[in-house]
């Protein structure tokens, strides 16, 4: 059993050692939201063989380290992504795959897809391209490993620190109560309704 003193933990030495090992064994939860999923089979299988870097696919969020969001994210998907992300144990990292999670990509005008994933969950690394080739994916993962080793990939800490901000952004999209294009219509209608009710009550009196 490895014993670590309090000083060492505070010093960050132990964390550095841990980070070294973490970067060598990454389990990836690939959330195939969009078209990006087609680039993953060649990345995983023998041609490009992701596993030589110690990255393997994982089936459940509870055992995964990386959440890979491949492609556009619709509002309904975002709800599931947030749920999966919150189920994952720390340390965890998010990789945005393709240009859609960065700025909406070709779907940025769409009413159904969000434009920037980073507003809702912290993205550690974005691979752009539409779609990124397996070489780009592997290059991105090597970069992520480097970042984890240096302790630069701190998305999960960001999420914990700015939890309210992220939650507010999520709620803004997921729990909408008013129309976006003509805000106030719902509240005006509601006010009229209550007014009507009040007048009915007064009429009864």
């Amino acid at each position: 059993m490895l014993k670590v003193s309090r000083e060492e933990i505070l010093d960050g030495k132990f964390e550095r050692v841990l980070n070294f090992f973490r970067s060598r064994s990454l389990w990836m939860l690939y959330y195939c939201t969009g078209c990006g999923a087609v680039e993953l089979p060649p990345t995983m299988t023998s041609r490009f063989d992701m596993e030589r870097f110690g990255i393997g696919p994982m089936a459940t969020p509870r055992q995964a380290d990386i959440l890979l969001v491949t492609g556009y994210v619709s509002v309904k998907t975002l709800k599931r992504i947030v749920r999966s992300y919150e189920q994952m144990p720390e340390p965890k990292w998010v990789v945005g795959f393709g240009s859609c999670p960065v700025n909406g990509g070709i779907y940025w005008k769409s009413y159904a897809t969000i434009n920037q994933l980073d507003r809702y969950i912290p993205v550690d690394l974005s691979l752009n391209g539409c779609m990124p080739r397996p070489q780009a994916v592997i290059d991105g993962f090597v970069n992520l490993m480097e970042m984890i080793k240096k302790g630069e990939a701190v998305g999960y800490k960001k999420y914990r620190l700015n939890y309210e901000w992220y939650k507010r952004n999520q709620a803004e999209v997921l729990e909408r109560t008013e129309p976006v294009l003509r805000p106030g219509i719902a509240s005006v209608a509601k006010a009229q309704e209550t007014k009507k009710k009040i007048s009915i009550v007064e009429g009864v009196k």
């Binding site: 509002v75 700025n103 909406g104 940025w108 434009n115 909408r176 109560t177 129309p179 976006v180 294009l181």
Partner: protein
Amino acid sequence: MARKLRKLLAGVTVNERYGNRMELVTDGQRAVSTLVVLKSSGFEHLSNITCVDWIDENRMDVTYNLWSYTHRLHAVIKAQTHRDAPEVSTALDIWPQAQVYEREIHEMFGVEFTGNPDLSPLFLHNWRDIPPLRKDFDTEEYSRRAYGVVDGVEEAGV
């Protein structure tokens, strides 16, 4: 076939098109009776139901695509409705699979299918605006206000 249908369906325009296709133009009230007649004269298969928004003519066309296995004929039924209050009777009693299409069209275009017991939202999450596939819905403005603009997208002139 077209001649036979013209005889059966008074007040419905029947146009022949490209050999094995025909187009029937009707209105919201007569749509279902037209479909009943067509089904009994050999058009067994409902391929799909769609909707076309003709904003300049202030019209909403609910379009049914039918296929006949016996006659090898394709029929398009366009039920023209008024755009401000689009209303068509449900085709649920003729083809049960119309349910999903009607729910979707109700959600995306706001067409009311009278007689359909379940027109609850199907695809959209917590939608509060006007139906998104209507032509007067500004999807770009919606995206901008709902999800924010990312720096650099505007300058790229997309």
